[in-house]
């Protein structure tokens, strides 16, 4: 025991720790830089870049670190690169860590929900802004445990530098064992030293997790929660359950919601139709065709929407409603046909060539096409208010004050000013969708696309969202294209209904006429089925 303590405090071994840390730092730092480059190459649109990165990964992940160390140390000098031993070891470790770190980064990025990306794109974020503001903040949080793992493994792997004469902890231990024959005391001591180092890494990891914990602001947790035998998730879950449930019921809908605007009378409708008919065209879709492999999704579809008009897209699942909406703001490419928004071909240059993703994003922001998704797609790491204010700052260049003022205004309008500081996951589905609508409205879009905005909601939450949309249509006169299964709602809010089947419009016309007196048998059958299913839950 005294021998063990003696070696534990032996300066010779403690100095080895310094070298071990140097090699580890070089390996992790270099590995992170290389890994970022590799991950970027692998996620690139250009196949050559990703092929090179893939080849690198196969080679450096597939060969033992010990060989890479020897290579960096003994082979590189033959081509004139004679690195000091510590640098050579750091280089080999960095080259070896890079593919692992790259895969972690890639997994983190790909793990971010596709909906988050769609929402960012629809708001006009360029790929760089999207990465910095939406993907990276979410990915980094999920990657911290993996980074902790990788750091511990790099620390231990640095011991292989002993084969190339780097005087780190392991090499010093073996030399000391050879000269003193105190084999076990020395290795227990150096084992404990490694354990202290890796333990420190674990503490840093836990601290970072705590620091980036989104719920931390809500509730200051005691440090004891981070002891391994304490379940962290449990108390939070209990607290959340207790908090959100009663809130929901007590949630005040906007004051005027309760005295909801009654459906327009026949005369008002006619008057509205006449006004709209004189308006300019907002969206024009001509002969749009799109294939997914052998399957035709859009089959020569034509649609014209005038300013101030509300068009409801109806039809069975898979009829092309969502795809049509996603083509209008160019979230998806298509095979032939044209889409014009405000007279502009969104996403194409004057000569008809496709713009880069970055330029499409800028144009989307300039033309002003807002989108509301079935799954809300709120940025899950941002509060309700930031969800609205953030894109205003990042895409439209508003100052913090202006963006915050606009966000507060819009949250007030959808009746959620009291939930401004809440994270999306702490909001009910209906509340989330109302925030999503506020977010889409913030930059004053010329057209708002709503993709089944109530389909993912529990029946009792549908009304609050429909009411917000109804007011946008009737009070604000916003141009909207809504895909929906809510027949009653479509009847009350839409000026026109378009029925899609098999990727084309089979019937369209004034909402009330089409819905009450369909001429196409397919439409009639769909309506009767929907009516039968939805009747009990229909709007009011």
């Amino acid at each position: 025991m005294s021998l063990f303590l003696h070696y534990l405090s032996l300066p010779y071994l403690l100095e080895g720790i310094e070298v071990t840390l140097q090699v580890t730092a070089l390996g992790l730092g270099g590995g992170l830089i290389l890994g970022l480059i590799l991950a970027w190459m692998q996620l690139s649109r250009f196949w050559l870049l990703s092929a090179v990165a893939r080849a690198y990964t196969v080679i450096f992940r597939g060969t033992p670190l010990i060989l890479q160390m020897v290579f960096a140390y003994d082979a590189l000098p033959h081509i004139g690169i004679k690195l000091p031993a510590i640098i050579a070891a750091g280089l080999a470790l960095a080259c070896n860590e890079a593919p692992f770190i790259a895969e972690m980064l890639r997994a983190g990025v790909l793990g971010v929900d596709r909906g988050q990306v769609s929402a960012g794109q629809a708001l006009g974020m360029t790929p760089a802004v999207l990465m910095r503001r939406v993907i990276a903040p979410q990915a980094i949080r999920t990657m911290i445990p993996a980074f902790g793992n990788e750091s511990v493994s790099a620390l231990k792997n640095s011991s292989l530098a002993s084969v190339i004469a780097v005087q780190e902890l392991t090499l010093r231990s073996t030399q000391l064992a050879s000269s003193t024959f105190d084999f076990f005391s020395i290795f227990f001591a150096s084992g404990l030293l490694y354990l202290l180092l890796t333990g420190a890494v674990s503490l840093v990891q836990l601290f970072l997790e705590w620091l980036l914990d989104l719920d931390r602001a809500k509730k200051e947790r005691s440090l004891a929660d981070f002891l391994p035998w304490r379940r962290v998730a449990l108390p939070v879950a209990i607290e959340l359950a207790g908090k959100s449930a009663p809130k929901l019921c007590a949630d005040p809908m906007p004051d005027n919601a309760t005295l909801a605007s009654p459906a327009l009378t026949r005369e008002e409708r006619t008057k509205r139709a006449v006004t709209i008919a004189r308006n300019n065209v907002a969206v024009e879709v001509k002969d749009l065709r799109k294939l997914y492999g052998p399957q035709t999704v859009l089959n020569g579809l034509d649609l014209t929407v005038r300013i101030g008009e509300v068009v409801a897209l109806m039809g069975p699942s898979g009829s092309g409603k969502s795809t049509l909406l996603r083509c209008i703001n160019h979230l998806e490419n298509w095979d032939s046909g044209t889409v014009r928004v405000g007279g502009r071909r969104l996403g194409f240059r004057d000569d008809g060539r496709l713009l880069s993703p970055r330029d499409i994003a800028n144009e989307r922001a300039a033309v002003g096409v807002g989108m509301v998704f079935q799954q809300f797609n709120l940025f899950s790491h941002l509060t309700a208010k930031e969800n609205v204010a953030g894109p205003l700052r990042w895409v439209h260049g508003l100052g913090r004050l202006d963006a915050d003022r606009r966000a507060s205004e819009l949250l007030d309008r959808v009746g959620l000013s009291h939930r401004a500081a809440a994270l999306p996951r702490h909001l009910s589905g209906g509340q989330q969708q109302r925030v999503a609508i506020a977010r889409a409205l913030a930059p004053n879009p010329s057209v708002l696309l709503l993709d089944e905005p109530t389909s993912a909601l529990d029946p009792e939450l549908v009304n609050e969202v429909l009411e917000v949309i109804r007011r946008l249509a009737i009070d604000d006169g916003l141009t909207m294209i809504i895909s929906t299964h809510q027949i009653r709602f479509a009847d009350e809010v839409a000026d026109r209904v378009a029925f899609l089947s098999g990727g084309s419009i089979i019937e369209e016309g004034p909402a009330h006429e089409v819905l009450t007196n369909p001429s196409n048998p397919l439409t009639a059958r769909f309506l009767s089925v929907m009516e039968a299913d939805k009747a009990p839950e229909a709007v009011r």
């Binding site: 003994d74 031993a85 090499l171």
Partner: protein, 299 residues
């Protein structure tokens, strides 16, 4: 720990227990010897070979052989042993200083060949095979000891058919490896099981293999074997000492014949002056190891 990291306690000498195997090392320190003064002919050599005067060269060693090269248990920041002293004296003779690079035994010559070291003085046996990777200046005869567990349970009597069926621990790259492998056909011819080889990275691991009952024998330089027996007198013993047909050599790069000649000339001075014999005595090594320096080179 912080102090250690900052290097402030570097010189603080902890209470060191009276060494177990330090016997050899201690004997070395006690023996008064003035090996430091360079032999008379050295001044002449420095004129003849001025290229390395004032330089600092790198000596690659495998510091796992107490008596030849190992870290000093009293001050682990230093290497001590016969080879270390010999290298220092060659350096003094030719006017250069040495720093040390600790590598595995198998990496000694690759380190030299890649230019990461200038010279290898590490109890390495000069063989024709190895001479393809570096030129050798031979300086010592080789006597091997056969290390076995106390009582020699397998009745091993040397590198012969008494090793059939035994497990031999060896360092990767040691010349004893092919010697043991050469026994395989002999054992087969006698209808006995083959000897098996366990390859380790350093001396300590080979000795541990016997202590742990994994290996039956470890054949290495006789002084190394004697040191192991001194460290574990209740558990180990030397079965026998054998001569093997090699010399110990200093390896230098093949593409530097002038350096080889300079080292050779310096070795000759050290040999003739009697300093080499004095060093053997200082480190408690058998004076019978003494040998006139020679060259081993192959193309």
């Amino acid at each position: 720990m912080h102090k250690g990291l900052l290097g402030e306690t570097r010189r603080a000498s902890p209470p060191w227990r009276s060494a177990v195997l330090g016997a050899v090392v201690a004997a070395g320190f006690l023996a008064p010897l003035s090996a430091q003064a360079a032999p008379a002919g050295c001044a002449e050599l420095q004129e003849k070979y001025p290229d390395w005067k004032g330089k600092t060269l790198v000596n690659a060693i495998n510091p796992h052989t107490p008596g030849y090269e190992a870290i000093d248990p009293k001050d682990p920041s230093k290497y001590v042993g016969f080879d270390i002293d010999l290298g220092e004296e060659i350096g003094e003779c030719l006017g250069f200083k040495l720093t040390y690079k600790a590598v595995t035994f198998a990496a000694l010559l690759t380190t030299l060949a890649s230019g990461q070291a200038d010279i290898v003085i590490s109890d390495i046996y000069a063989t024709e095979e190895r001479a393809k990777a570096g030129d050798f200046i031979t300086y010592s005869k080789v006597f091997d000891g056969v290390l076995v567990a106390k009582g020699n349970p397998k009745k091993i009597t040397g590198i012969n058919t008494s090793m059939c069926g035994a497990a031999a621990a060896e360092n990767t790259g040691f010349v004893e490896v092919p010697l043991v492998q050469a026994l395989i056909p002999q054992c087969k011819a006698e209808g006995k099981p083959e000897p098996t080889l366990q390859l380790y990275d350093n001396n300590a691991n080979c000795i541990q293999a016997i202590l742990a009952g994994r290996a039956d024998t470890y054949v290495n330089d006789v002084n190394t074997v004697d040191n192991a027996v001194k460290a574990y007198p209740d558990k180990l013993e030397k079965a026998i000492a054998v001569t093997i047909p090699y010399s110990v050599g200093i390896a230098v790069p093949k593409n530097k014949p002038k350096f080889r000649d300079a080292v050779m000339a310096a070795m000759m001075e050290i040999y003739k002056s009697g300093d080499q014999l004095a060093l053997l005595k200082k480190w408690g090594l058998d004076p019978a190891n003494l040998k006139e320096p020679g060259l081993l080179t192959v193309n």
